[in-house]
Symmetry: D3
Subunit: 279 residues, 6 copies
Amino acid sequence: MDMDGVVLEEGEAIDWIVFNRPKAANAFSAAVLERFTALVKDRQTNGAPVLGIRGNGRGFSSGMDLGQYSATSGPTSDVMRLSSYVERWLDLWRHPKPIIVAVHGYCIGVGAQLASFADILVVADDAVISEPTIPIGGGFIAPAWTSHVGSRRAKEFAFLPGNRIDGRTAAEWGWANCAVPASELIACCESLAQRMKLVPPAVLTMKKRSINRAMEAAGFHAALSAVAESDALLHLEPEVSRIRNRLKTEDLKAVVKDYAGESSQEIFRRHQVRAAEQG
Amino acid sequence: MDMDGVVLEEGEAIDWIVFNRPKAANAFSAAVLERFTALVKDRQTNGAPVLGIRGNGRGFSSGMDLGQYSATSGPTSDVMRLSSYVERWLDLWRHPKPIIVAVHGYCIGVGAQLASFADILVVADDAVISEPTIPIGGGFIAPAWTSHVGSRRAKEFAFLPGNRIDGRTAAEWGWANCAVPASELIACCESLAQRMKLVPPAVLTMKKRSINRAMEAAGFHAALSAVAESDALLHLEPEVSRIRNRLKTEDLKAVVKDYAGESSQEIFRRHQVRAAEQG
Amino acid sequence: MDMDGVVLEEGEAIDWIVFNRPKAANAFSAAVLERFTALVKDRQTNGAPVLGIRGNGRGFSSGMDLGQYSATSGPTSDVMRLSSYVERWLDLWRHPKPIIVAVHGYCIGVGAQLASFADILVVADDAVISEPTIPIGGGFIAPAWTSHVGSRRAKEFAFLPGNRIDGRTAAEWGWANCAVPASELIACCESLAQRMKLVPPAVLTMKKRSINRAMEAAGFHAALSAVAESDALLHLEPEVSRIRNRLKTEDLKAVVKDYAGESSQEIFRRHQVRAAEQG
Amino acid sequence: MDMDGVVLEEGEAIDWIVFNRPKAANAFSAAVLERFTALVKDRQTNGAPVLGIRGNGRGFSSGMDLGQYSATSGPTSDVMRLSSYVERWLDLWRHPKPIIVAVHGYCIGVGAQLASFADILVVADDAVISEPTIPIGGGFIAPAWTSHVGSRRAKEFAFLPGNRIDGRTAAEWGWANCAVPASELIACCESLAQRMKLVPPAVLTMKKRSINRAMEAAGFHAALSAVAESDALLHLEPEVSRIRNRLKTEDLKAVVKDYAGESSQEIFRRHQVRAAEQG
Amino acid sequence: MDMDGVVLEEGEAIDWIVFNRPKAANAFSAAVLERFTALVKDRQTNGAPVLGIRGNGRGFSSGMDLGQYSATSGPTSDVMRLSSYVERWLDLWRHPKPIIVAVHGYCIGVGAQLASFADILVVADDAVISEPTIPIGGGFIAPAWTSHVGSRRAKEFAFLPGNRIDGRTAAEWGWANCAVPASELIACCESLAQRMKLVPPAVLTMKKRSINRAMEAAGFHAALSAVAESDALLHLEPEVSRIRNRLKTEDLKAVVKDYAGESSQEIFRRHQVRAAEQG
Amino acid sequence: MDMDGVVLEEGEAIDWIVFNRPKAANAFSAAVLERFTALVKDRQTNGAPVLGIRGNGRGFSSGMDLGQYSATSGPTSDVMRLSSYVERWLDLWRHPKPIIVAVHGYCIGVGAQLASFADILVVADDAVISEPTIPIGGGFIAPAWTSHVGSRRAKEFAFLPGNRIDGRTAAEWGWANCAVPASELIACCESLAQRMKLVPPAVLTMKKRSINRAMEAAGFHAALSAVAESDALLHLEPEVSRIRNRLKTEDLKAVVKDYAGESSQEIFRRHQVRAAEQG
């Protein structure tokens, strides 16, 4: 059974909420999000002491299901729609249990936003965390990154079209706790959960609340206060509308190709290597 | 003379306050804390331009002297007792001189809280910085870490029982400025102090105040606002009381064993290595 | 034509504002600053989608033109003068375009303050970013660093006279996005700009505003609130006045020599190596 | 039909959610709270442009249903239970519509906490807003008041047992927008809603979000970060337990009598008058 | 000479910048704003120790010159345009001199935003401070009010179309320092300036900076971080566009009439009086 | 016995710390401050449940003992000296008991700073709260006021030389909880304490901590971060030095006279009345 594209796998130390629409690249449809939120809430009082989130198939998630955006609905309802994403992820932040997110394969756009709200984030070495490949919105994802990686890297990540980092870089930047080989990703999270299981759940809850409070004192919450406004506003920017219109009439690959190219990290490496070769 | 377990070693560039109860693993008894605070205050206007803090014996400090906790005193007095630790460390933060903390060997619980208030922190490569080995409190230490290492690592550190990092990891995380071999720890701090000595003391004071102000704008102070409440509350959690009661009747080693196991960094390395071996 | 020591080089993807007083080590004279600000404002609505800032000659900038300071003007006018630097750099922060700063050679004092306001910062491997060589002020530069490198490293950097890091360390600390060989510095920035050029300018503007807002929620602005007061106050500190007076009568090199010595990173490396040699 | 003690009255300009357990003094039972939250969420996308909240019977609400507290559940679950109140009221804060709360008669404890989250608050002249009559918790309500009335009055209100202010004082303090005669309370709110109805709903939503953001920048959210911890902790304070135990064995009136007496405002007036009489 | 609608009147204790387009109701045209900003900057280092701002004619200002808004320019350029207002008012906030704003007659929309940045604000008893009469934007003005009047009154003011308060209410709310009869408005400000003139200008500057810093710690700056985004977004809301379109084809008075009606304070008074009459 | 100018009067509900150097107008000498701090700390664990602070003689306090300032000590030691005042008042803020400050007669400068840290503040109707009569410092007191009265009134209070408000105005502004006739001042505070005595001390402690935390979230602490720098800096302003020098050679009354004149509230009333008379 599809279960609206999200399944629950119960374990002794960790329960997994698994995005399970591999054919749709685990894009977040309305049904997926509703089911996801319901499962997250259910786990507040049920199940294993740790909650895990991952994706089935070749990647974690391709992010928003673009079919859901409708330019005709007005910018304020767009703001409310975008805010609802952040509210869903904040359910993770406020959840009484430690939440481990395991990212493999692609992790795009809002998928990379969700991951910023994990308590512990483990990524596969070869995961590719990226901005949407086509610049049709903005100011929505990077602010949640800023609390983890600082503004330098948040801006670097956000300013290049379809910019991306691999899992190793994500761990170096401190966005993730660690990068491990993809084949060990789930096992590694389960090892962590096995250890956490020994701590009384109440202690885990209070530790999480206390560190969250420290992050909120450092602006975690406030950083998110107007991300929906920024994105909704860009949806109405004429140049962005032109790109969106191209998507209706042209082949997706053709549009993507116009923005494709090196990532910032690839640019840095190329110039580092070139000098070495010439040196 | 024992001097209540803390001694002052005066130097030209740096005065050292040295925890000196090696048989008690430099645990912070009430007498130690009073003497420590008195020495810290005395150095505000006396002595060398830099103040150092370190421990004698096999480690920096094993943290709180558990004998001091009394469940019968009521949670609010427990809050006030816990707050008094933070107030003592804030004396370091507000101190007019640069304060270098040198950590070697074990550095546990409240010892690792103290170290978060140092201006400059140098650790021995093989130092072991750890959570208390038995989970009988919480939410007290990690918030002070969050300002230095972010929430990802603060949570990773806090969620596993008796979790620990070595000195090299502490430097990689940015919790410490640098890790050096244990044999060079004191000499390295003295080298730093020799250089600082050339700066007029007033300049050092104003630089410290100005950077502290920046940290406070980023929530350093606010992060600490309810750590005492979190910990005191957990002291009354039934499951925590059960563990405390075990400590009264069972052998300490037996209890410790129930929570012993890999650290988070050991888990990460094991999974990284395993894949490499199988690859 | 000298153009007051600052020239504009227009490009397709990136316009460069170039400090061009190599004989004066690109010190910021009043004329340089006025011209710089005028060019920055002009680029708000004109030119390429990305704005770059760099220096001609052997380094980025040696910082303040000390000739500008006059002890007779009163501390409050000194505060206003110092605030005007921060206001100029905030023009970069508030600028609608992404701003890339490229640092090579020396980058001293207020030069290292300016760089903290860049959106993207690329440094040459062998760049030397440093505090002023003589401790005649303070509390002015490091608070802007704190948002990028934390208090540990901000204090380490600030407390040693003439302390300095090279480009590689700047990138490791997260102060810069990346360090590349000096010969590739400009090309690397141009590569980044070429990619950014594909993003609609409005999207870049909103992304920058959104990440800035997150940084401001984390105290970026507030960190700067009293840096001018700190510095102005130290200008009147008797011990600082004595050093200033020496500068009027003695050879500069003689004064510099009194404060010269190892940097903190050199101290750390020396102690790391010594143990290895003895081990 | 009782509808779990909460009813919805739909109107053209304003829908009213009405607490309707007059015999239980509109105490917030679990069932009431669940129904309340469901109605609040339903009104996000349905009904009139303005949402009102009021109580049926002789008062707005007597606050928590004390039967719900169980000392045996552990302090952390008490924290989560208390946090759930704040989360419910934050649903009002985040609601897309303007929310008018109309307070008449008694408004006690958590009832006075709820009212702090209203957008517009209108009170009856003779309403009595009060702390719980018996001091068996604390630190839970006043922080939400502080954003509206400052610390002086929040402390005055909180420090006297069963302290209370009438509607006129609530308006003078700025806790309420206005006090009107009880007979005009509902009509006054409806008049406000009639005017608001002319503003496009999207404009009202964005205005509310924008002002909320300003309040959050001034700490509204952060003020609430540990109120649950404070209250849960006091529930375990021995002296508080003694009072709770009295409530199980003694007549409620006898216990209330021990804490009864003048309010702070009555004390102020008495001393003002006495001097006038003697003058 | 018109001087672009703004004139400077120099005095001994106070210089006045006077809006002087009475026929255009002192609306802020681009020319007016440029001239205003130039005068404000010029007064940083020239003239009397106090700076005053007022309007000539029947009122202070009717706010934005609506002719300046162009829906075709794209929302991001609208954001930048709106931000430029806030930047201009922040020049008052950062100005080294005390700034007294004197408000008489009408003070609408952005006029009421400007006044929020005054150091001292004196209003005529019968001044009418109001929201724009037609709801075609939002979230732009009230956040700057929130720091002065709290969220309760900011929301009350913002949620009714064309809502307004008179000078006396403005003083009661603490938005203004005092309300005086219109005939005494200028004389009163001059009396204040005569007294301030006795304080050394440097002392006034530092006092202003210090209090501003306290306000910024309380979120004054952060409250303004996304007001431009809110307003720009509403400019594109379909329902708002419909109203704007009506303005192009219908008589202004007809449109205004659709939104005209009681202010919130009039509603409150009506219900207070009605009960009294019936009582 | 003089007891260094401060005496302790113990009571059942409230202990009073009383400034008792009436001949010196209760100026804060070093001895007074040391004794004051010692008594405050002693009362943390001893005595009545409420702590009161008042002055003997004709007023509360005339503020700093000017004899203590020495221009030769260097600005940084001046900063540390000034910070020590704030630290002493923060002992009141952090004190576990409610602290009531009772102000009668004059309350000048640092006296009015102390009062800002009270939990409950009661003033005599005819008390005169004022800035120092001669403008020889600044930026030190008003930031602590800002949290209570907002920036409008803090600036009004601070910008006029020797500006002052009476007790009634202090209560209207919300700086004080209430103004009562001088003859009732102590009795009124005792009445409040009698009621507070019924609340378990632990509950009072936690309520105070919780409201303080809310105030700190609203910037109370951060507002104080650089007040010492502002004041120390002005002490070195040439124009301020000139005034200080006059004080050494001229009669105090002659200097005071140069700055004497109407308060801001007197100016407002004069202009309100004049219009009424002419109307």
